[in-house]
């Protein structure tokens, strides 16, 4: 068992004993290329790029203009998947969506992520998970999911079908932009600026462990839908 002070002292001692200084700057091996890059770093149309990337990963994306369309999409998806239970985040945007009533009418029970006695029971049984996302990243087709009150991590993870609704204003261009948000959040607000969980979720869950053949929907949802609104 190591005591913190001793442990760190040992490490400090070892970092300082060395006359050795690594000298192999790696620049010789990966020289920049002359040919024009194939990924457009400017990303002219972020929503279009997001949808394109998501589709390439086997996800489904759609641009919609109003809440009515979102409701329709979720309803028809629930019918198509013969869903019995949908679990959703407890956030104002999804209250406003007003899909709970129509879903219940269609025979789909709706569980809201609040005051749950056993969340495993609910999220583990649900056929569909529904959430918003803090950001979306155009370059990679990624959703940036934050944990927090009402925002269950399991909602986006346990049901086989997962739907996220994201306003187009929330689309960032690149991965560094998204990470920078939290770096800046932490710099400004300390722990309050960085939620206990942030997940960059990119397309359907998958595994290639069996002979490198793609298996979709390994442990997380294999059926991923993102609606870009606006």
């Amino acid at each position: 068992m190591a005591d913190r002070a001793e442990f760190l002292e040992k490490v400090r001692h070892r970092t300082q004993r060395g006359r050795y200084k690594p000298t192999h700057a790696p620049d010789v091996a990966w020289t920049p290329k002359d040919e024009p890059p194939r990924e457009d770093p400017r990303i002219e149309d972020p929503p279009a790029r997001f949808l394109q990337e998501l589709e390439a990963l086997g996800g489904h994306g759609k641009r919609v203009t109003n809440l009515g369309e979102v409701r329709e999409y979720v309803l028809s998806l629930a019918r198509g998947r013969e869903a019995k239970l949908l679990v959703r985040w407890d956030v104002p945007e999804l209250e406003e969506l007003g899909a709970d009533g129509p879903l219940e009418e269609a025979g789909v029970e709706v569980a809201v992520w609040r005051g749950l006695e056993d969340f495993r029971e609910v999220a583990g049984k649900a056929d569909i998970g529904l959430s918003t996302a803090e950001w979306a990243i155009a370059e990679t087709g990624t959703l940036v999911l934050e944990g927090g009150r009402g925002k269950g991590r399991s909602v986006t993870l346990l049901p086989p079908t997962y739907v996220a609704v994201v306003p187009v204003e929330k689309i960032l261009r690149t991965v560094p932009e998204a990470i920078e948000k939290y770096a800046a959040g932490y710099a400004a607000g300390g722990a309050a600026g960085l939620p206990a969980n942030v997940c960059l979720h990119t397309g359907p869950s998958r595994s290639g462990d069996i002979e490198m053949s793609l298996f979709v929907g390994m442990h997380g949802p294999g059926d991923v839908h993102v609606l870009l609104m606006g």
Binding site: F7, L8, T15, Y20, P26, A29, S207, G208, E211, M212
Partner: protein, 493 residues
């Protein structure tokens, strides 16, 4: 057919305190067998070729890749130079978020900590997300043996790791743990667990695994993960998985334990943007791994899921010995597996020949350093010094150079590693035969360009392996070895 794997660890009586008991000794013998195993060869070739092609494509598409690589190297250099400070900062940050921090000198310390925690919690089921650090210390076996009275069920949840666990096998690649098994073998293993015959079909096997592991995710008392990166500034742990098991293991069980090698630190949160991109692109040929998950401490007030209790174990287990030495750069590794995929030796022998958790070039470097030079004395010779590993490495670790230094060290210390010349007849023939060493597609074409020039100059065979040149368009390869490859090879290196 099943891969001929090294004899099981249990045979070794000597349980070294680090938990490193697998039979590293005997590389040459195992390699000789592996080289003749046709099925193994096909599996390794499929995996490495696909990985290399995917990785070249996404890295070539990222214009800033060379810059990122350089930044990665310098960030790691800075981290190691101030590792004590960053470790202290990380510990403070985690405690500030209500997490627990434990400093472990050895693998033994890690086993004790987790075993005692399991006892305190009355835990029965432990789910694990793939972690090389826990493989290194053989955590599962030791918990089961040393805490036999707790009757723990420890479940690997990465599909490949789970199958390896069920088969009593060890991972043969950092990224593709069971690449050495074909689907018939996998169907055999899973059929045994299912109690019925499962067809050798990816859909059927994957669905069965999903159902079975889902029960475990939902009932686990403790979730154990490694860390791909730990952020000193914020106390954040980054894990990347495509299957989602990393996120499940950290979200569902009430307790989350992280076993992190002390070299996994990066100083700042923004550094993650360098590393998660390099790791995904180099390791699996993706722009981003499906679940790139950042966990900072236990769940916040008001949250319903996420672990209530968070434990970070910072594990040394021999790592700090390398600090400030000529081998320090070996600690910069982000375990992407790229060097394995391009290594002419790994491509012929697969991972089990190395007899260590870490195989390929990085394994040949890190195993003797962590385990002691004697036992692993042949490993520094398991290399052709062609430099493909260095080229492939997204952090720019000069692996071939470290291997040479290790050989020098052996000479200084009077440890005689076996020359591999004789052990590798079959391998050598392959190296000489261009048709056997073709890498498909663009990588292959690019590879031949600079090497052809080098070959004309130094007499290096034109068929040198690896996708060299995919990043070095129009450049000659730097002089890597003091002698041309073929001469070294003749001398048995």
């Amino acid at each position: 057919m099943e891969t001929r794997k090294p004899t099981r660890r249990r045979e070794t009586e000597d349980r070294r305190p680090e938990g490193l008991v697998s039979p590293v000794e005997g590389f040459n013998e195992r390699a000789r067998r592996a080289v003749r195993d046709g099925d193994l060869h096909d599996s390794v070739e499929l995996f490495t070729n696909k990985s290399v092609a995917g990785r070249n494509a996404v890295l070539n598409a990222l214009p800033e890749a060379p810059g990122l690589r350089e930044r990665a190297y310098h960030i790691k250099q800075e981290t190691m130079a101030n590792l004590d400070r960053y470790l202290g900062q990380m510990a403070d940050a985690v405690e500030g978020r209500g997490g627990n921090v434990f400093f472990a000198d050895t693998g033994e310390d890690v086993v004790r900590y987790i075993g005692d925690l399991a006892r305190r919690k009355g835990a029965k089921v432990l789910t694990k997300s793939k972690s090389m650090a826990t493989e290194e210390i053989e955590l599962n076996r030791r918990l089961e043996e040393d805490y036999a009275d707790l009757d723990l069920e420890i479940v690997e949840t990465d599909l490949g790791e789970w199958i390896a666990q069920l088969a009593g096998d060890t991972p043969s690649h950092i990224v593709g743990p069971i690449l050495h098994m074909n689907r018939r073998r996998i169907a055999d293993v899973l059929s045994g667990v299912a109690g019925e015959e499962l067809p050798p079909d990816v859909e059927a096997l994957g669905s069965f695994a999903r159902r079975r592991l889902r029960e475990k995710f939902l009932t686990a008392d403790i979730g154990i993960t490694g860390a791909n990166f730990g952020v000193a500034e914020t106390g954040t742990i980054a894990t990347v998985t495509n299957e989602g098991n990393g996120r499940l293991v950290t979200s569902v069980p009430p307790v989350h334990v992280v076993v992190m090698g002390i070299e996994k630190l990066v100083p700042r949160f923004e550094d993650l943007s360098v590393f998660v991109r390099l790791l995904a692109r180099s390791g699996t040929g993706q722009k981003l791994t499906v679940y790139t998950n950042f966990v900072t401490g236990p769940r916040a007030p008001g949250e319903i899921d996420g672990a209530e209790e968070f434990h970070l174990i910072l594990m040394d287990n021999g790592r700090s010995e390398l600090l400030g030495t000529e081998f320090e750069e070996a600690l910069y590794c982000i375990r992407c597996g790229a060097c394995l995929n391009v290594c002419p030796v790994y491509r012929q022998t697969g991972g089990h020949a190395y007899g260590s958790t870490y195989s390929g070039p990085i394994g040949a470097v890190i195993t003797p350093l962590l385990k002691g030079g004697k036992e692993a004395k042949d490993l520094p010779h398991a290399s052709s010094l062609c430099g493909a590993c260095w080229e492939a490495c997204p952090v720019g670790i000069p692996l071939h150079d470290l291997l040479l230094k290790l050989r020098n060290k052996q000479v200084r210390e009077g440890v005689a590693g076996k020359a591999q010349g004789l052990a590798f007849k079959g391998f050598e023939n392959t190296m000489k035969n261009p048709a056997l060493y073709k890498i498909s597609g663009k990588a292959g074409r690019l590879a031949r360009k600079p090497l052809a020039k080098a070959g004309a100059k130094d007499g290096i065979p034109k068929t040198l392996p690896g996708p060299l040149g995919a990043w070095t368009n129009g450049r000659d390869l730097p002089e890597l070895a003091p002698k041309p490859f073929r001469e070294l090879w003749k001398e048995g290196i």
